[in-house]
Amino acid sequence: MKIRLRYFGMIAESAGKNDEVLELNDGISAKELKARQIERFELPDPESVQIAVNQNLEEEVELKDGDEVAFLPPFAGG
């Protein structure tokens, strides 16, 4: 299945890109994908990383084809 990953702020800086599409095996959860990308990019301060699946903050969800998973560093609005 194809999953679109998007990176923001300091995570995009660490990843060296804003987005990419990965071909993944069925059955992977958002949480597993998060752990994998944190390790792959050696993201600093991994506890601060939040992920949004199709714009909802959640990790305990199994991914499906076409999902968009965003990697979000701490919010700094306002």
Binding site: R6, F8, G9, M10, E13, S48, A52, Q55, A70, L72, P73, P74, F75, A76, G77, G78
Partner: protein
């Protein structure tokens, strides 16, 4: 009712003071309003380890941010008896001394307008995926984190 219309929140660059005057003037025909509460965020020239912030470069997960702004609005209108609410947030570069956030709530009564304004500010800081790159005068940077 401006409650239902989807509202454009993001503006490119700093929010000019004239925009605030314009928003206020737009409410002078609404004679059921007795109180407006306004919050403005301004970029501080913080000094961090000997370097001074010159600007913040804001970015956002825009689609999600617009959705969250909308949810915050819906919740605010159900919690508070406000007549209207407006939010503007900058994207891109905002220099020190310039405005990056404008929250504007109106109600018949002052306490409601004030509480609703505070609610928006806290919710925006906590829940909206906006990211800020603090750019120092020497052009190095660090990433801002809301406290």
């Amino acid at each position: 009712m401006d409650k239902k219309k989807p509202k454009k929140v993001f503006v490119q660059g700093a929010i000019p003071p004239e925009k605030i005057a314009g928003s206020i003037a737009n409410h002078q025909s609404k004679t059921n309003i007795g109180a407006h509460s306004i919050f403005l965020g301004q970029i501080r020239a913080d000094e961090i380890e000997g370097k001074t912030v010159a600007a913040i470069d804001y970015s956002a997960y825009e689609e999600m941010a617009e959705k969250v702004f909308h949810e915050i609005r819906e919740t605010a209108f159900s919690k508070f008896d406000i007549t209207c609410a407006h939010i503007y947030h900058s994207l891109g570069t905002v220099k020190t001394g310039e405005l990056c956030l404008f929250v504007f709530t109106s109600s018949a009564h002052r306490k409601i307008a004030i509480e609703a304004c505070n609610y928006f500010v806290e919710e925006i800081k906590a829940k909206v995926p906006i990211f800020g790159k603090e750019i120092f005068e020497d052009e190095t940077h660090q990433w801002k984190v809301n406290k």
